[in-house]
Symmetry: C2
Subunit: 166 residues, 2 copies
């Protein structure tokens, strides 16, 4: 049973619990999978860990270049892809055709603004029974994603303003 609720608050209230949730350090997780620990990978990982927005590959690339100016976009792509494969980070789809990532790999809901495509974590209780899902579908369930779609406060203000200005 996945309970998608208050995870970030819970984790931040219990420093040191990362291991409980499978959040090993990046270096540790890479080594455990036989992958090399390189400065590029650490830098990419740090970019994701340092923010709670959900940057696209291109955005990660721009940010990581301050730490690692010679890194290539290709390396950012492959690094993010591999880290997502081993569960260190989580791929996010905001419906804008870009590949985004979340530094928090634990299942949790997201809310996507359908105007500006910003993505935020959503602290809402949702009970998802993966056993029921598996029994009804003949799939083995490994993961779940929940997306809410709507308008953020900023975009609501903008649309109100444009209506008024007519």
């Amino acid at each position: 049973m996945y309970t998608v609720f208050a995870w970030e608050a819970y984790a931040s209230g219990f420093p040191g619990c990362e291991r409980m949730f499978g959040l090993f350090s990046a270096a540790e997780a890479l080594k455990a999978r036989g992958m090399r620990v390189t400065p590029q990978r650490i830098a990419v990982y740090n970019v994701l860990k340092a923010t709670d927005d959900h940057p696209s590959v291109e955005t990660v690339y721009e940010r990581v270049r301050s730490d690692c100016p010679s890194i290539s976009l290709n390396t950012v792509y492959t690094t993010l892809c591999k880290m997502a494969e081993i569960g260190l980070i989580r791929p996010i789809d905001a419906g804008d055709g870009l590949c985004r990532y979340d530094g928090n790999p634990h299942p949790h809901a997201h809310v996507v603004c359908t105007s500006c495509r910003r993505v935020e974590d959503l602290d809402v209780r949702i009970d998802l029974d993966e056993k029921e899902a598996a029994s009804r579908s003949d799939y083995t369930i490994d993961d779940v994603a929940v997306y809410f779609y709507g308008k953020c406060a900023d975009c609501r203000k903008l649309s109100n303003r444009s209506i008024r200005s007519i």
Copy 2:
């Protein structure tokens, strides 16, 4: 409150209830939005309605050419995009970089095979409180999507076979 459960079974057991669920005929929905009703649009819509898989744009294109041989891929793209905009159909992301669509626009869960990327409807109860989501996020919530990820029975068989054959 969205309750994502047994919707297809419910709807199929009550023929004629489409209007209850906002499922007007394609022609009706297009007209209501001031969009023209063309043979191409009807043909594209019928392709989606005739299947319970979740075809990509390219797949819709291949199938619709039996009804409408001269249709262009561009028209399929724009038609699907506009129909999704007005809520006639639902865009689906299977994580393979393709744009897929579901002829059933009502919120319901999906399960995605991470090997072959097939997508199936999932008949599982999930209670999602969009009011709670809105109150916690300062977003107005219009829609929700739930994806389970795992392996389908066919891909499990294939991976077992390949392990045995080593």
